[in-house]
Symmetry: C2
Amino acid sequence: MSNPGFSKGLEGVVAAESTICKVDGENGRLFYLGYSIRDLVEHCTFEEVTFLLLYGQLPNEEQLEDFSSAMRGKRKLEDPVKKMITDFPRDSHPMEMLQTVVPYLAAYSGPEGCRDTEFDCLYAEHLIPQLASAVAAWHRVQQDLPIVDPDRSLSHGANFLYMLTGEKPSELAGRIMDGCLILHAEHGLNASTFTARVVASTLSTCYSAIAAAIGALYGPLHGGANEKVMDMVDEIEADASLSPGEWVSKALSEKRKIMGMGHRVYRAKDPRAIIIEGYLEELGKQQGDTSYYDMLKEVERVFRERMEEKGKPIYPNVDFFSGALYRMLGVPTILFTPIFALSRASGWLSHIIEQRHDNRLYRPSSTYVGEIDRPFAPMSERE
Amino acid sequence: MSNPGFSKGLEGVVAAESTICKVDGENGRLFYLGYSIRDLVEHCTFEEVTFLLLYGQLPNEEQLEDFSSAMRGKRKLEDPVKKMITDFPRDSHPMEMLQTVVPYLAAYSGPEGCRDTEFDCLYAEHLIPQLASAVAAWHRVQQDLPIVDPDRSLSHGANFLYMLTGEKPSELAGRIMDGCLILHAEHGLNASTFTARVVASTLSTCYSAIAAAIGALYGPLHGGANEKVMDMVDEIEADASLSPGEWVSKALSEKRKIMGMGHRVYRAKDPRAIIIEGYLEELGKQQGDTSYYDMLKEVERVFRERMEEKGKPIYPNVDFFSGALYRMLGVPTILFTPIFALSRASGWLSHIIEQRHDNRLYRPSSTYVGEIDRPFAPMSERE
């Protein structure tokens, strides 16, 4: 077998050809199935974008109505699933709960055939709303509050906030939540999406592949960046002696990392960050409190000034503003990564479909660099 | 970014350097950490081989006693885990149950710190026995039989059979089960092991990585081959008009695939198949019924004759004899892949440790082959 050399972490190795997501890092643009994320977030619901990711085209009115109606009809958790979430240990992490609940969902309330190797979009219609409901239910249980049943009249994002807080969100808050789910739904071949494709390539069920992807997203090298931004926000807020800008200058002089800045691919400002920044300002104005927005903009301004002085233009990424926005929407920090999961589920499913469409089992090689034919020492001779 | 071309399924691409497993396909030899599988299966318990896979060296007497004692002390399932397995839907698949139970185990009974990013062999000591107990418990529940509590005096393999059947196995049966677990514990970078490494590379918990690997093994392109051999065995047995050899000739003339033959890597007889064949003969003699052994040997003989006539030497692989052996040990067919999982868990954990030792996040690229900047059509203009 030819050995084309070893690239750690498969960096630079092409593991798939894909028509799903294009990141134009130079120009700070992002496309799902060729459509600019700006257009999608401005004109579409999360359900509409999910349809695009599953079927490769935008739905017409009838298709969207059927699809949204199907997804909304599958939001309610079955009693055994509620019970399982209720029984889940209190000190567990919601990502553990999610990884547990997904194969359980297949077993309990999955559509007929959901254990077949053939993919059917029915599974997506079931899985995506159930994930959102499971995360909301977990939070309610943690707060010793009753689980809230879904409301079909609400969008996917608004219903999630309703099931989380028990209160119907404002039109703006619901729209922003839906927009955030759209913005996180897909971003090419990251570790969790790659995991989903590898598992799907064995012809395992899509539930298994999604559960596996959740396991990958749980890793701090992958998910969790916006949590770290909020740790920074809390630290800046707690230090009354320094303005946010002064805090940044001090942190940089101490060679500390400013969270939420820079991106492996984007050389311009992450287009998702621009949209989320707008949401944060809009919601702050509606709620009469723009302090997070003001603080983060000052952090960004001072950080960029310092970087430009060094000739290193570095911009905020998607995580820089999203944590503060989620907090203003009433979402606790521990749910940031689970929300990423229930948004990205649409992208994972899109990749599972693409993988299956022209499948080849992922089976890379390894190079053996160990010993061979070690003499077997009987127990009495071992040190 | 350089694009070294696209190899579907990452075929021929090196994704890791490893000291864990060497398959010498030309000569039909297999090594774990440099030790021949023949030596290991002849002299070691499964616990001993697990120690080797985790620590990279064979244990001395005291180390083995401590390690075995720790693993045996962690076999018992906590009540909430038993309850979860009992409540699992009856028509579910045990691989779904296993994938569900692993993150649940972390949440319920995992050792302190088991959600940390640092790997600790304590997690392996907990996870490996719990997996075996969970599979046995699932089977008992399916049979409407009480869950059997473990017996510390028995080896890992013998205890599994005891918890499965409620009866202590013969010394030979226990030894054979332990041997089968050793033989399946590791085999390099297949799809499930690769999945475990990818998830581990995000610094997710080892429970998440194992659950994800279980999801990959659930796929019919990966696990399940020995089930297909048993379908063939049952078909041969049901056809009284043909001897096994005649059945093979007829099947080949009809261009049917003979299951359990050939291997991507081995050009000689799979060394594991040779050992399992010996087990099957030995157990058959003890039980006074060598009919499976006799049948499979005739299938092998006639198949190899026909292949050699064509100049294609093809040999049985590990799956050819293992299904019949498991059946004689009282293991139902649906548990074959779960048993593979609870054996391979040791190998997965070994790879997780190796991955973490010099970690780099797995993040391959994809090549975008889709459209860009599609004009956004308003709803009313969509077809």
